[in-house]
Symmetry: C2
Subunit: 355 residues, 2 copies
């Protein structure tokens, strides 16, 4: 029988509160769909671990995690204890890079039962994916300062794009577009202003487009692309972008769909050489942590993406359907962000029971 080994890393803040709800739903689908899930939980990649050890991760984190089928991640970040760039470069961004999770995949979907901040948009009109390059580009740690503390102070930061890095994420996006009904791919660029890296990105995208004649491919500069997420979300099907542009678009997209607090994400190593990592788009939310009121849907939806990645497509779809069902059902108590007074656990339980 099918069995999956999942590393569970709750992390910080509301991560600790929503991960158990994700696991609750995961276990319930396992029962219903006839597979087993074996989980092991880790306390690293958290501020508490950092306080105790002066590092975000133990030295053997790579060997510890590499054998798992997937990593189920909550959220990391607690700026009072450790600066964000330290906690993130010391954990999440390290996982992405060292486990070569070069695709960050985030659905932008206006779910039934969710109110979009955009006027008059229907669920049929807002349904696309952002495919973000997740290992290189603008997120390099190369650069530095010179003439510190003087008027000549100058700071350099390198953007690094490689043919391998660019081509593989473009290929993933074109393959995804090919499987979808609209067969439409949009790439984000800024080649009119950023005159070396972005024209390169365009060149590779144009070359790749030539290999997929059945796909309608177009490009938008990032400035007008963000405008079009607001004005015409119906224009998009698969949107592929560099690390930074993908980061922006995959927050903006869910905001337009009204799902910024509940959107999921997958950090994927498509070759399965390393485990992929699944996490909600939201962060650790120090402002509401510890009160048991965090919305667990982002974490639960991330479990659905994880199951999909593991090949349990029916189970993954069932979770999304259950989420949508609960959102539409006015008789179910919701968490405060959705206008209700339910706890994290109550909403998680409601979704598990709806399956």
């Amino acid at each position: 029988s099918r069995s999956y080994r999942i590393a569970v890393i709750p992390g910080d803040g509301i991560g600790v509160e929503v991960v158990p709800e994700g696991l609750r739903v995961l276990r319930r689908t396992a029962e219903l769909y006839g597979f087993t899930v074996e989980t092991e939980q880790f306390d690293f990649a958290s501020a508490a671990y950092y306080q105790a050890h002066g590092e975000m991760l133990p030295p053997d984190w790579h060997e510890t995690l590499v054998g798992f089928d997937a990593i189920f991640f909550g959220a990391v970040g607690w700026p009072e204890v450790v600066p964000d760039h330290v906690s993130l470069w010391g954990s999440l961004l390290k996982f992405r890079r060292e486990f070569d999770q070069y695709v960050n995949l985030r659905p932008v979907r206006l779910l039934h039962g969710v109110v979009s901040p955009l006027r008059d948009r229907t669920p049929e009109e807002v349904d696309f994916y952002v495919v973000r390059e997740n290992t290189e580009g603008e997120y390099s740690s190369i650069g530095g300062r010179i003439f510190e503390g003087t008027d000549r102070e100058t700071v350099l930061q390198e953007t690094v794009m490689t043919r391998i890095g660019v081509d593989r994420v473009l290929r993933y996006a074109f393959e995804l577009a090919r499987q979808r009904e609209k067969k439409h791919l949009t790439w984000a660029t800024k080649s009119n202003g950023i005159s070396i890296s972005m024209p390169y990105w365009d060149e590779r995208a144009e070359t790749m487009a030539g290999q997929y004649p059945e796909i309608r491919a177009d490009k938008y500069h990032i400035d007008i692309l963000t405008a079009n997420f607001v004005l015409h979300p119906d224009l998009f099907d698969v949107v592929v972008a560099s690390n930074l542009f993908g980061d922006i678009l995959s927050d903006l997209g869910p905001a337009c769909a009204g799902t910024i607090g509940i959107a999921p994400s997958a950090n994927i190593n498509p070759e399965r050489t390393f485990p992929s990592l699944f996490e909600p788009v939201h962060g650790s939310a120090p402002d509401i942590a510890g009160r048991g009121i965090a919305n667990p849907i982002g974490q639960i939806w991330s479990a659905a993406m994880m199951l999909d990645h593991l090949g349990e497509h029916a189970a993954g779809e069932a979770i999304v359907a259950a989420i949508e069902d609960i959102l539409v059902d006015g008789s179910v108590a919701k968490t405060p962000d959705l206008g209700g007074s339910a706890t994290t656990g109550q909403l998680g339980t409601a979704i598990a029971e709806r399956l």
Copy 2:
């Protein structure tokens, strides 16, 4: 009597169609407010000039323009004739850098009579400025390619921030915030992911904030900031950002306010060592060029910003009031983008007459 010398550069596409309407309104305000405007028109910074000369600008462009009080610019770009990064780095981006127009100022205002794509937002709630660094940062032309055409192909592009460059745009933004009622400044960052340049930007902003205790200053990472433009435009008063982030925010902001086609912008050299440049946010729009249907409001509103910069505050305000008046007035024919069938000239004339 007050007199201003204005260099007029229509550029490409609809630039050529909307600039005369901007001038029409400008001349009318001059009559009404008792100043004179002397204009000289130039045909460079256009695809036609490029075709004839193989360059976007004549060798003596700097001497030619430097003595003017301001530059009134249409739009540049005609990709069929000259690639965008060539036409832009060869003209607009050159003006910004060589005339040290280090502030790009763009209002985000939901005008009366304009329909925002956001649900339930009122003009009182959407009224802020984006202040964009306009000469350095992510828009550097430093970098290159190595191992071209092979699997090792690697492309580097440098982001360059200087203390002088960062501090002066921050100071401008803090001074602007100080003059406004809410006294609230937000700076855009991405210091959790982009770990060298952006933490530097934060440091300088924090230092500057210390010098302005009367201003409430906060920071947002660019991803969640774009989300908040959609979800909570009422949170903002003055938003200051690096060159790239400012580019994005100053398209997204007007999109949220429903004014992407009519928003203005000012490229300002605050010391007045060099002329400042005023242009609509929209581009040359090859798809509708030549049909006389382009909306001239962005160009006319840019004239208002120009007058404001020249010290003609009352005249500038009168133009914005006339624009708003015309937008609200259902009996005035509008251009097709606003749902009417008026020509560019008819709408421009209507605004000039409303003054």
